[in-house]
């Protein structure tokens, strides 16, 4: 009977642990972020490895529908333009499943990108395989990577989603400035709210 009980316990542990490995651990500072090959609104595929001379990458999980993401659109566009010349490539990824959130479809991404003149690749996370690896939990959610794809900063773009004019702390820009001077970003992570990522359970 004892043997059967231990066998049962072992089986349960085995089953539970196999479930656990299905959910990736969110990236922490210092982890190496995965590259991807995702389609942008221009129909082309983009990967970080395409940018041989990049000093770093600004990976932003964002979307069409979320009011928080919408509030940051102009700022994201501005950041993309200003930092491209400095060697930091901004790549935006829409992590949502259009079956759950129809306004986040690829077609509507194209419309939004055109309307707002997005100056960066706006990528569709086909099959929603990339955002779970990063551990993105909401939109917008930013991951700043160095040229080796090491995660250096995670969180919010700045401290005031509501008003760009009233921003006091430009978290992301400060983090980039820290990388530029060989320092550690401070803070390395910030908290923010946003819309949950829409995925089937």
């Amino acid at each position: 009977m004892k043997k059967l009980a231990s066998l049962l316990v072992l089986t349960v542990v085995f089953i539970l642990s196999s479930f656990a490995t299905d959910v990736p651990t969110p990236y922490k500072i210092g982890d190496k972020a995965t590259d991807f090959r995702l389609k942008s609104v221009d129909g082309k595929m983009y990967s970080m490895v395409d940018y041989k001379d990049a000093k770093g990458f600004i990976v932003v999980f964002t979307c069409n529908h979320c009011p928080f993401a919408v509030k940051y659109e102009d700022r994201i566009n501005d950041l993309a333009k200003r930092y491209k010349s400095k060697g930091y490539i901004l790549l935006a990824i829409n992590p949502n499943d259009p079956a759950l959130e129809p306004t986040d479809s690829y077609e509507l991404m194209k419309v939004r990108a055109k309307e707002k003149g997005f100056a960066f690749p706006y990528l569709f996370d086909e099959g929603q395989k990339i955002y779970p690896q990063y551990g993105a939990t909401k939109t917008p959610h930013v991951f700043l990577l160095d040229k080796n794809q090491i995660v250096k900063y995670i969180g919010a773009i700045d401290d005031n989603v509501d008003s760009a004019a009233d921003v006091k702390e430009k978290y992301l820009e400060n983090a980039i400035a820290a990388l530029e001077s060989g320092k550690t970003p401070s803070p390395e992570t910030t908290k923010a709210i946003g819309c949950s990522i829409k995925a089937k359970k």
Partner: protein, 158 residues
Amino acid sequence: MKYVLCFSFLFLLSNTIQAQNVAVFDNYLSLKEEILSDKNTIYVVNFWATWCGPCVKELPHFEQLNSENKNIKVVLVSLDFKNTLESKLKPFLKKKSIKSEVVLLTDTDYNSWLPQVDKEWSGSIPATLIIKNGQQFFAEKIFSSYTELNEYVNKFTN
């Protein structure tokens, strides 16, 4: 006839007053001090916003909890934008006939106040905080049914 008119007027007035009573706070600590400070009350605080689909979906469960569970007090803390108080939040509350206490928190310095609610909070909403006797219990999750919410609350309040 006079009584009918009087009554109708008072009824409408009370509805209007109810619909308009949303206290606005620009920082979490003042909200906590003013709204969540009675040591003898068990608060079930729900962080939500009109623009958050899953939040709106679970609000009825909190309304039900507020009306059926006399041991607790539900406080709905909206994180809607400051300038949408009149245009979005109040109309929403009126349309849904929300009876629980609603306050608007306009503090956008989330990095400072989110950890004050709970150090582990990643920032996603909806999220629910139970305050009982100086203790706090936090759930960064969606309650998909009233039963689920009620069971969760009873775990900490019995």
